[in-house]
Amino acid sequence: MDLLTQPVGLAHYLVVGAVLFVCGVVCMTIKRNAIGVLMGIELVLNGANLNFVAFGSPFLQGRSQDGLGLDGQWMALFVIVLAAAEAAVALAIALNFYNTHATVDVDQGDELKG
């Protein structure tokens, strides 16, 4: 594979991000534990973040910029903040879920069934 012989570039970051993303999705789908699902969500977000940072980096793009070129980093910071907020809300949901169902097994909460 070319990637193994090449110096570390944008493609490598994208591959790592994709792996992280897929790991997250798989984790979300197979974990019955709500905490596990949350972990999967974090992985998905971080995979996306990695892409932002990689695409936003002037170094990786191989060109000098007029401005600071920190757009991708800004987006990553936003995502991190949102992830923190989301984690707080999700944990609160999990706690309430536990209060009502005495478990954190997401399969038990199928009240939305049509």
């Binding site: 979300m28 789908t29 197979i30 399969d107 199928d110 009240e111 069934k113």
Partner: protein
């Protein structure tokens, strides 16, 4: 004088419209005027009172205006207020036919205005007292409800005055009207007011029947009137009485100047229009043969006098006159249409006084007086005969009637007969003079009878008697009325009826003398005999009511003098009944100013009855023997009637019961009113009802069955098919769609498992699938995208 001529129309038109204003106000706000509508009576009385003041002012203005003319015929003031419609004519030279609202004011109009508003004002005042029961809830003992209790209903005080105002407006409009179309409209309006007021107690079967009878009998007369109107309109092309200048300044000739053209010394002339209409075959022939229209027209004009002397159009004139008179027969309750007036006494007594004694029924006489120049001598003969038959017939029925109001009603019919008779024998001033005096004393008599009925609660004279002590005001004012109507007076001094009735009889005698015709002799003798009957039945009424022993203790105990608001009109009218005829006031002189031009020479020269000659009215004064004879005859017969009544009913020397037994068939004949009602019932009412029943039967059995059968078959057919079509097509289609939607929903429902992990998986797989799909499809896109 110029000023008087210009102000007269304003005064009279305002006086005419004030009651309309009052009517409108009461229609809109009647029940809310004062407590229980009491204010409505005051509004109506105020309006007619103001009209009265204006009419009296107009009378003064007229005297001022008339003072500018030396000779009696004072030209009338006529004009138009508004043009309702205009029809172009085919004839080139004639003006367009117009229907207008106009006025025609002469001494007769002014005198009628003063009389109508004056009498109406006092009757309104009287009604304020008489109708006071209508202010509260009324219990009508004569009407039983379904449960058998007497009917209780709300009072109709304001409604009474509403109708009275409408009537006053209509009556004044009839008098002031400047053309026959307007007369006819107001003629019908007074008719409908009469209908509404006769049926005022419409819960009583007798009252609603009487109202219908009055209305329907009047229709018969009005049919004749419409025939007359059509003859006038079709031949003369105008409805206006007087000449009028139109917008272009050319004078449109009214009916009167066409019938009595000034060029021919106002002699009765068959108008050109009537001659042309009668000779239309000849006119057509001329037009067909002549080379040009102008020449044809000249030829027609040249031959018109010939045709006139040949008698073309004379029949048309006679028929138009008879038609107009036919309307008057209905309205003035002349034989043979007199049957409605006695029944009209079902209305409240003030209504009987105002409408069915003083004014509306006199409108027929008024119209005959107004149309007088139009009547050919033959028509006058018919008028005289009808009047004479009526006065005799009604007087005989009044002899035996026991209902106090019916006696007065027949007396009214009889007196109206006198007026018609007076006009028919050529006494224009005499007839209308009697109209004016009669209005006062007959209104007085009716109001007096109302006062008695109010006190005793009964109409029947056999239940009265001995009321003189209890109600002296009513009794003595009614005595004045009785004396006036009987024509009491001697040697040139007497009550109002004395002068008017004597002048009618004098003219009748003069007519007999002039022609020596036995017909007029008979008419004169019957009229004199009628005067005796008048005195007899009036004093019979007075004695039965006021003297002798009380025949009904309960009614007598109950009786009391009426309140002041009812007595005051009696006194005022009594004073006028006494003094109105006095030569001092010059009432006949006033009427003479309106004597239609050309009629002062008498009537003669009829083509159908050439021997018929009616002497001029002033001829009576030339021959002193006439007055002496008539005075003596009238006085002696009236005295005889009075003495006879006194012997029978005052002193009770003779028992009327004996006479009744001796002449039982005659009594029965009179008691049944000459069987007129029965005859009409048999001749007209029964066949009409039978015919309508047959028509209704045909309707029900024939037409209704056909329609019903068709409907039933359509319904049966539809019952057979409608369910099937509905279920199969309409319902089926809708249900099928609904079922399909339901099934789809049921299937899609299974996708919603509620399992979060499954959702996540689906989202991920779906996203990948979309990517795969899009990248696969990309290659099919055209290059460049």
């Amino acid at each position: 004088m110029e000023f008087a001529a210009s102000v007269l129309p304003c005064l009279l038109v305002t006086a005419w419209l004030l009651p309309l204003l009052s009517f409108a106000a009461i229609v809109l706000f009647g029940p809310r005027m004062g407590k229980a509508g009491r204010g409505a009576g005051l509004v109506a009385t105020g309006a007619i009172g103001a009209s009265c003041v204006l009419s009296l002012a107009a009378l003064v203005a007229w005297l001022w205006y008339a003072s500018g003319f030396a000779a009696p015929p004072v030209p009338p003031i006529s004009g138009e207020l508004y043009t309702l419609a205009e029809f172009p004519t085919l004839l080139a030279e004639s003006l367009p036919l117009r229907i207008t609202i106009g006025y025609y004011i002469d001494a007769l109009t002014v005198a009628m205005f003063a009389m109508v508003t004056f009498v109406a004002t006092w009757i309104h005042v009287y009604s304020l007292g008489y109708m006071h029961e209508e202010l509260d809830e009324v219990t009508d003992p004569l009407v039983a409800t379904a449960e058998g209790r007497p009917l209780r209903r709300r009072g109709r005080f304001h409604r009474f005055f509403q109708y009275m105002s409408l009537f006053s407006f209509s009556m004044l409009g009839l008098v002031v009207a400047g053309n026959v179309a307007m007369v006819f409209v107001f003629w019908e309006l007074v008719g409908i007011c009469s209908y509404l007021l006769i049926g005022f107690y419409h819960e009583r079967k007798s009252a609603s029947n009487a109202a219908n009878k009055a209305f329907i009998v009047n229709r018969v007369g009005d049919f004749g009137m419409i025939v007359g109107l059509m003859a006038i309109w079709g031949s003369l092309g105008t409805f206006a009485f007087g000449d009028a200048r139109d917008l272009w300044g050319s004078a449109a000739r009214g009916i009167f100047s066409q019938v009595r053209p000034p060029q021919r010394d106002y002699r009765l002339t068959v108008p050109d229009g009537m001659v042309r209409l009668a000779a239309r075959a000849e006119v057509e022939k001329i037009y067909r043969t002549a080379p040009s229209v102008a020449e044809a027209e000249a030829e027609v004009q040249r031959r018109l006098p010939d045709w006139r002397t040949q008698g073309y159009g004379y029949w048309l004139l006679v028929i138009a006159g008879l038609g107009i008179f036919c309307g008057c027969v209905g309205k003035s309750a002349q034989f043979p249409l007199h049957v409605w007036l006695p029944d009209a006494m079902e209305g409240p007594t003030p209504v009987s006084a105002l409408i069915h004694a003083a004014t509306m029924v006199a409108a027929g006489v008024y119209l005959v007086g107004r149309f007088y120049p139009f009547f050919a001598p033959e028509v006058l003969l018919v008028i005289a005969v009808v009047g004479c038959v009526t006065l005799f017939l009604a007087a005989t029925i009044a002899l035996v009637a026991t209902d106090i109001k019916r006696v007065l009603a027949y007396s009214t019919v009889s007196q109206l007969g006198y007026m018609m008779f007076g006009l028919g024998v050529g006494g224009w001033v005499a007839g209308l003079f009697h109209l004016l005096t009669h209005a006062f004393f007959k209104a007085l008599l009716f109001l007096g009878s109302g006062s008695v009925i109010h006190a005793t609660g009964t109409n029947e004279m056999p239940q009265m008697g001995g009321l003189l002590k209890k109600m002296p005001w009513t009794a003595y004012t009614m005595l004045a009325g009785c004396l006036a109507i009987s024509g009491a007076g001697v040697a040139g001094i007497g009550l109002s009826g004395y002068y008017s009735k004597d002048s009618i009889l004098a003219q009748a005698l003069s007519a007999w003398n002039a022609g020596r015709s036995p017909v007029y002799g008979l008419l004169f003798c019957v009229a004199v005999f009628g005067a005796a009957l008048t005195a007899f039945y009036m004093f019979r009424l007075w004695y039965l009511t006021f003297v002798g022993q009380p025949r009904d203790e309960h009614a007598h105990e109950h009786a009391h003098e009426s309140p002041r608001v009812m007595v005051a009109p009696l006194v005022v009218l009594a004073v006028f009944s006494v003094v109105l005829g006095w030569p001092l006031w010059g009432l006949t002189g006033l009427l003479k100013q309106a004597l239609p031009q050309g009629t002062e020479a008498g009537a003669f020269g009829g083509l159908l009855l050439p021997g018929l000659v009616l002497p001029p009215e002033h001829a009576v004064h030339d021959d002193p023997s006439i007055h002496a004879t008539v005075s003596l005859a009238a006085f002696s017969v009236a005295l005889a009637g009075f003495l006879l009544a006194t012997v029978f009913y005052g002193l009770r020397k003779l028992d009327p019961e004996d006479v009744r037994r001796t002449f039982a068939p005659v009594y029965r004949f009179l008691r049944n009113k000459w069987w007129f009602d029965e005859a009409y019932q048999l001749l007209f009412v029964r066949p009409a009802l039978w015919l309508s029943a047959a028509a209704a039967g045909l309707d029900r059995q024939g037409i209704d069955r056909l329609v019903d059968g068709a409907a039933r078959s359509v319904r049966d057919v539809s019952f057979q098919f409608d369910g099937w079509i509905d279920r199969t097509f309409v319902d089926g289609q809708v249900n099928r769609i609904a079922r399909w939607v339901y099934a789809t929903g049921l299937w899609l429902r299974t996708l919603q498992t509620g399992r979060l992990r499954q959702y996540v998986l689906l989202v991920a797989v779906g996203t990948v699938a979309i990517f795969v799909l899009v990248s696969t499809l990309r290659q099919f896109l055209p290059p460049g995208h």
